[in-house]
């Protein structure tokens, strides 16, 4: 075990997988000479050379599609988006090509590719650079969507994503790169995709949280413990495939649920989780599921407004108290 930042855990995952399989290469803007816009790819150019760590022009649609084509014939590209905001330019290749290739070719062409990079809210970069778009990708069969919340998860899940034979959207929270945690140094350490983790056990209410919301939910749970409410925090880690079983198991135990997420509420992942809880565990619910989402407005620049736009510990606490009928 070593204590690593999220950034270094991701770096280690890529380094190890590039050593393990020479078909793995990294391409994106500023990934090589500049060492990564967020320094996630630091040192990789020096270690693997410019054949495998490749600076691309600012051409998201182009290099996303290049990656998909290379994956169709057996390479295993890691395509880094400087941020997922810019992946929007590449959605045609991600959704129309990567997600559907295996299906429309009748099973002939799989696309083992990882699209990764930072996403979610950042600090005061306003509307175009601060948004969570996982629900877009999670909507489509054919894609997997992963959102780690700890350095260990980041490493284990990224290694699995690289080894996976399907296109994987891997969203790293931009504010979390510096977060530290214990990480296994075993090169065979992986975490399977599609498996949730209970980050804290509890009996009175379940908070389903992902990515940046996980540390906030844990803090809220600590506070609530003092107030006599025992919270279970479930982190799905993979949005698609969603480990609904672990969530349902928790709901059966606590009978009350809050779903916390950074993204806008409308058509969001939280809406999907709420619907599935209703479908699978309606009789176990003692209160309607409550969502704590980013507000239904673009992210503003002003610090005070930005703080209002993104869920915080207090809003999660309030929501839990609401489903527990305490207020």
């Amino acid at each position: 075990m070593a204590v690593l930042t999220m950034r270094d855990a991701l770096n280690q995952a890529m380094r190890e997988e590039m050593h393990r399989d020479e078909n793995v290469f990294l391409m994106g803007e500023e990934v090589a000479a500049y060492q990564g816009a967020y320094k996630v790819s630091r040192g990789l150019l020096q270690e693997f050379g410019d054949k495998r760590v490749i600076d691309s022009p600012i051409t998201e649609l182009g290099f996303a599609g290049l990656g998909v084509g290379a994956a169709m014939v057996g390479l295993r590209p890691i395509i880094e988006f400087m941020t997922f905001n810019f992946s929007i330019l590449a959605t045609d290749q991600i959704i129309n090509s990567a997600a559907k290739m295996l299906y429309m070719s009748g099973g002939q062409f799989k696309v083992p590719i990882v699209f990764r990079g930072p996403g979610g809210s950042a600090y005061q970069v306003s509307s175009q650079h601060s948004q969570a778009i996982e629900s877009w990708y999670a909507h489509f069969p054919g894609l997997k969507v992963v959102m780690p919340s700890t350095p260990a998860d980041a490493k284990g899940l990224l290694k699995s994503a690289i080894r996976d034979d399907n296109p994987v959207i891997f969203i790293e929270q931009e504010r979390m790169y510096g977060n530290k945690g214990e990480v296994s140094e075993d090169e065979e350490f992986t975490i399977p995709l599609g498996v949730a983790e209970v980050k804290r056990e509890g009996t009175d209410a379940t908070i389903v949280a992902r990515s940046l919301m996980v540390p906030l939910a844990l803090k809220a749970a600590e506070e609530l413990e003092k107030q006599g409410v025992s919270c279970e925090v479930v982190d799905p880690r993979t949005i698609r495939p969603l480990d609904i079983d672990t969530i349902i198991e928790s709901v059966r135990k606590t009978n009350r649920v809050v779903v916390a997420e950074e993204s806008h509420p409308f058509c969001g992942v939280g809406a999907e989780i709420s619907a599935q809880i209703m479908e699978h565990a309606f009789d176990y619910l003692d209160a309607p599921v409550r969502r704590v989402s980013g507000v239904d407005a673009p992210t503003p620049y002003a610090k005070n407004l930005e703080n209002l736009a993104i869920p915080d510990v207090q809003r999660i606490i309030a929501a839990v108290r609401e489903v527990a009928y305490l207020d």
């Binding site: 290469f25 054949k51 490749i54 691309s56 022009p57 051409t59 649609l61 182009g62 290099f63 996303a64 599609g65 290049l66 990656g67 998909v68 084509g69 290379a70 994956a71 169709m72 014939v73 057996g74 390479l75 590209p77 045609d92 290749q93 129309n96 090509s97 290739m101 295996l102 299906y103 429309m104 070719s105 009748g106 099973g107 002939q108 062409f109 799989k110 083992p112 069969p141 054919g142 997997k144 034979d165 399907n166």
Partner: protein, 357 residues
């Protein structure tokens, strides 16, 4: 870009100047006539056979479409056969091909069987994409045919990536990427050409300029209509080619293939052609005059090629009749195969969504 590669590109770029290119091209055509005798007769007859097979298969597909046996969009290639057949005749079997939704011709020329193509159009389990792709999404991993893609321009970055993989692995495989002239207005085209020259990729971009994107003529959609000139912006070698002359297409592609295989460099070929039918089966085609269509039909690539083969005494009426007969038999067999092939089983709805599941 100041490598030897750049020099080649520059030489060709210097030629790319409208009238001059065309004049040179006429000269080349004369030379080709002379060289025809040199090209092995078997190859020439195979080229004719493939063009006729594609033509007859599509005529049959149109019939089946009218009978409701083929659904959805069905884009015929009639009139453009010389492009796919000529270009693919310059490839090795292990080279890759990607193209658009107008791909029945490319699929046949790359070696997918007429049976599997027809069955795919019928949405049957025996189709080359198991009935899940349809007319616009023919795939066959066995012959390195990487699809039929239905987002205009979508296949261009993909092909660039396939070529990237060949270079990465150190194979000398070449990738051919076909698209219509309307796709040239998409960012995907420009992003790909830029990267292909930047990374020196063995990809050949073939613009099949049939002068219309659905009902919109080239003139109404493109500010600079000389597509081959656009290569200059990316320092990519390019040529303008008469797409009604199958041997001209073959030879231009051979030059591009040599550049790709030996020097790992891309080429843009603008191949001027014309589709004789509507954009798809549902297009009445009111945006073109009968006279315009007839003008191009006089230069029907199959007619032209047949005439020159006869002129060179490489083909007589009997041989042509035999060829037609053989093709008709294959097309009939393909239709029979398609009709008899079962529909995909209902469980197939949920297969092939994820690998290893």
């Amino acid at each position: 870009m100041s490598s030897a590669a750049g020099v080649v590109a520059q030489e060709v770029l210097d030629e790319v100047n409208g009238a001059e290119v065309r004049e040179e091209h006429d000269q080349r055509k004369q030379e080709q006539k002379d060289r025809m005798e040199a090209t092995n007769r078997e190859t020439l007859l195979r080229i004719l056979y493939q063009m006729v097979l594609i033509r007859r298969l599509e005529e049959k597909a149109a019939e089946s479409y009218s009978l409701g046996k083929i659904g959805g969009f069905c884009h015929l290639y009639i009139g453009q056969e010389a492009v796919a057949v000529g270009a693919l005749s310059a490839l090795r079997p292990d080279d890759y091909v990607l193209t658009s939704y107008r791909e029945h011709g490319h699929a046949i020329a790359k070696g997918i069987s007429p049976d599997e193509v027809m069955a795919e159009l019928y949405g049957k389990a025996g189709g080359c994409s198991s009935g899940k792709g349809g007319s616009m999404h023919l795939f066959d991993a066995n012959v390195n045919f990487l699809g039929g893609h239905a987002i205009v321009g979508g296949q261009i970055p993909l092909a660039t990536g396939v070529a990237f993989a060949s270079k990465y692995r150190g194979t000398d495989q070449v990738t051919l990427c076909f698209f219509g002239e309307a796709a040239v207005n998409q960012g995907a085209f420009h992003e790909s050409l830029n990267m292909a020259q930047l990374y020196k990729l063995p990809c050949i971009y073939i613009c099949e300029n049939n002068q219309y994107g659905m009902g919109t003529s080239l003139e109404r959609a493109m500010s600079l209509q000389d597509v081959s000139q656009k290569a200059c912006a990316y320092d990519v070698a390019s040529e303008f080619v008469d797409g009604m002359d199958v041997l001209a297409v073959r030879e231009a592609t051979e030059r591009a293939v040599a550049r790709a295989r030996r020097e790992q460099l891309p080429t843009l070929l603008e191949i001027r052609t014309y589709r004789f039918m509507g954009h798809s089966m549902s297009d009445p085609g009111n945006y073109r005059t009968r006279a315009e269509i007839e003008k191009y039909q006089e230069r029907d690539p199959i007619k032209l090629f047949t005439a020159s083969l006869k002129e060179k005494k490489l083909l007589d009426d009997q041989a042509l009749a035999d060829l037609e007969q053989r093709v008709r038999g294959e097309v009939d067999a393909a239709v029979r195969f398609a009709e008899e092939s079962p529909e995909p089983a209902p469980e197939e709805l949920f297969t092939h969504i994820y690998a290893n599941q």
